[in-house]
């Protein structure tokens, strides 16, 4: 792909659109803009960072980039884990972080209309303050909603409420030509032709730039609690998951936790986890609209867990108790990151019934490659987060070890009927694995769609394919 370099004239144009305080070049570009959360995938400097503040500005920038053959990489708060929002080919890094207004809460239609730069934590809190809930609950709360939509982020509540895709009703998007399209809206149903909205969700900024979103909300459940359930081993945890799902207790979250990761979180946070009597845990969350209903369902689930060999079932029913557990759970990624010099990540999703054989494979791999591997994830939906830790491994050996381990993990996932990514996306870090997993025909189909939206491949080039 041959792109034009950004010139002084281009900078002048961009400054004219956005104002000089929103255009950064050279040493004024903060180092953070050269990477996302995973520096292992390299650092790439954009030629210019532009902070857009309106749909019209985005439109003008896109139209200009299109006519001048300059690549555009849209970016939220840069919390991605696959190099999704880094400017691989330089050009314009289009930051949407300043488009951070919540435009409306519609209490009758149960929707909210937001700009893409609104942070997940802000939206979640504002919805709760109005007695509503935005159900998607990805771990990284400082991610933007736009970023969540671009990766179709999942999170802890996917098992009951679904993922980001299930809550996007409509959007305003800007095509590379600068044309602005409005798709969907405050409608519950929509059978009006191809769902362009669903094509854009999860497209990682490769098809269009989203500048406004209409999201579905639900009434905030009155009550909730969590159960922390210790087991002798991870296999027992995984074997219990289908039984919990069959019990008709409808948990909102089914997470698995391993003692070694809990200990890493304790060290990272300087806090003590409320129980460390077991090697492995399931963490369940339930919500309901009355205490009686909540009690009925959690006790039913607790009985199922005890029948499946749980050592006990601990009840977390107050804010303080929830904090003591969920603060640690929320810090797992950062804790693992802090515990090692560098790490690589795998976000596979497999059928939940295959969790045990997959984790057995992870254990074998750890031995075979002599590599420390830490894992946690969403046992309820089969989405695992597996981290290869560099520790003291020499640089020359580390890359090869990573490569071999990643190939092995993705091969196993494919064998068990899994997919490359559950919620983090592909970026430029996982594209070769995607190709192996999906095969040529599907990848070609995706590429055709890409070219239909973006014939010159200017939008977030080098990602997904």
């Amino acid at each position: 792909m041959k792109y034009n370099k950004v010139t002084d004239r281009d900078i002048e144009f961009l400054t004219g659109i956005c104002g000089k305080e929103h255009v950064f070049t050279g040493s004024d570009i903060h180092e953070d803009f050269t990477h996302d959360e995973m520096t292992i995938y390299g650092k790439f400097s954009p030629e210019v960072v532009v902070e857009a503040r309106s749909t019209e500005q985005v439109s003008d920038i896109m139209k200009y980039a299109d006519s001048h053959n300059i690549p555009v990489t849209p970016r939220g708060s840069g919390t991605g884990l696959c190099g999704n929002a880094v400017a691989l080919y330089g050009g314009i890094l289009l930051s949407l972080a300043k488009m951070d207004k919540i435009l409306e809460f519609d209490n009758d239609n149960f929707t909210t209309t937001v700009e893409p730069g609104v942070l997940l934590m802000t939206l979640a809190e504002e919805a709760i303050n109005r007695g509503m809930m935005y159900p998607p609950d990805p771990g990284e709360k400082s991610a933007t909603i736009g970023g969540n939509v671009m990766t179709n982020a999942g999170g802890m509540r996917a098992i009951k409420y679904g993922v980001t895709r299930d809550y996007v009703l409509g959007m305003t998007a800007v095509l590379i030509s600068g044309e602005i399209i409005n798709i969907g809206g405050k409608v519950v149903k929509n059978s009006s032709g191809y769902s362009i909205k669903d094509l854009l969700i999860g497209s990682e900024g490769t098809l269009a730039v989203i500048t406004q979103l209409t999201l579905k909300l639900i009434p905030l459940p009155e009550e909730s609690l969590s159960l922390l359930i210790p087991f002798d081993n991870l296999r027992q945890c995984f074997e219990t998951v289908p039984k919990i799902l069959q019990s008709r207790t409808y948990p909102t979250a089914i997470e698995f936790l391993q003692l070694q990761v809990i200990e890493a979180a304790e060290e990272y946070l300087g806090l003590h986890f409320p129980d460390k009597s077991a090697e492995a845990y399931i963490l369940l969350t339930f919500d309901a609209n009355s205490k009686q209903e909540l009690t009925r369902i959690y006790q039913k689930a607790a009985d199922v867990c005890l029948e499946c060999g749980a050592k006990d079932v601990f009840i977390s029913d107050t804010e303080e108790r929830q904090t003591s557990i969920w603060k640690a759970r929320g810090a797992f990624l950062e804790a693992i990151k802090t515990s090692t010099s560098e790490m690589d990540e795998c976000d596979v999703v497999i059928p939940r019934t295959k969790l045990s054989p997959f984790m057995d494979h992870v254990d074998e791999l750890e031995q075979k490659e002599n590599l420390r591997i830490q894992s946690f994830g969403h046992a309820g939906d089969g989405n695992l987060h597996i981290y290869l830790c560099k520790d003291n491994i020499e640089d020359s050996v580390w890359k090869d070890k990573c490569e071999a381990a990643m190939n092995s993990l993705y091969e196993k996932s494919k064998e068990l009927g899994g997919q490359i990514s559950g919620e983090h996306g592909i970026g430029h870090a996982k594209n070769k694995f995607l190709k192996n997993s999906l095969g040529e025909t599907t990848i070609n189909l995706m590429h055709s769609i890409k070219r239909c939206f973006d014939p010159k491949e200017l939008l977030n080039p080098g990602k997904i394919f």
Binding site: P274, Q299, D312, V313, F314, I315, R321, S324
Partner: protein, 262 residues
């Protein structure tokens, strides 16, 4: 060794309305929970139980619904529970509350160590614990941040004096109040709930106490008169220090000094 832990049921939320006329918290219809500070007291007692084989009893004062926190204490690992429940206890201030609890402790009888949380999240006085000890005429230490040693005759504790720590040896019987966050309280166990669901809770009324004079309890025994309860104003002020041209840290230091934060 016998340990008594005093616990209290408090509102489960900070969003509690206040009756403008009576100045009393509107507790009807709102959820309740065990005072979070008491969980540290129970955890301390249970750690001592593991160490010494002590028997741990909880005591609370309140309406019959307060039995819920005793059942919760059973789920956490406590052995016995007593509730001081009598309409004549209603409206108690620090003096009457501590006097009633001291009477309840006397009725329970044999005890070596009494443990309280450092304060409650509703009353917030942090005085009830030490006042119980005064009524019982036993030694006490507040703000205990660490149990250093325990033996058959005494306990050695570290007291947090904010700018220093004081190490104190207390002979039994004695009372301590426990700082928060010195440990992580264990969670209630569902297995314990199943095991203790039929465990009796002893109810104590005014007539069970050593002093049965009504004038020493409840509103009648409370010299404190609450004139008004109101929500404190909650202000968040932000100052943005743009340090592009100046030494921001020095400026921030001067500002904090001026505000007497440092």
């Amino acid at each position: 060794m016998n340990i008594i832990v005093c616990i209290k049921q408090v509102p489960g939320t900070t969003q509690v309305e206040i009756d403008e006329e009576t100045g009393v918290l509107k507790r009807d219809g709102i959820s309740s929970k065990m005072n979070p500070y008491d969980l540290f007291a129970i955890e301390t007692a249970l750690k001592l139980k593991e160490q010494t084989g002590a028997r741990v009893t909880v005591l609370t004062m309140g309406p019959s619904q307060a039995e819920l926190i005793i059942k919760e204490a059973f789920m956490i690992g406590v052995d016995d529970g007593y509730i001081l429940s009598d309409k004549r206890f209603a409206g108690s201030d620090v003096l009457a509350t501590s006097y009633t609890l001291a009477g309840g402790i006397s009725k329970i009888g044999s005890y070596d160590l009494i443990i309280c949380g450092k304060q409650t999240t509703d009353g917030d006085t942090a005085q009830v614990g030490p006042a119980i000890a005064e009524h019982l005429n036993i030694p006490h230490v507040a703000w205990v941040s660490r149990i250093k040693e325990v033996n058959n005759q005494s306990i050695i504790v570290e007291q947090n004096m904010e700018y220093s720590f004081e190490v104190v040896r207390l002979p039994y019987p004695c009372l301590i109040t426990i700082e928060s966050n010195i440990c992580t309280p264990r969670l209630p166990s569902y297995l314990n709930m199943l095991k203790t669901k039929d465990r009796p809770i002893t109810n104590l009324s005014l007539m069970d106490l050593p002093d049965t004079s009504e004038s020493n309890y409840g509103l009648k025994g409370s010299p404190t008169q609450v004139e008004r309860i109101f929500k404190p104003e909650h202000n968040v002020e932000q100052v943005i220090i743009d340090c592009a041209d100046t030494d921001g840290s020095q400026y921030a230091y001067e500002l904090l000094k001026q505000w007497k934060f440092i």
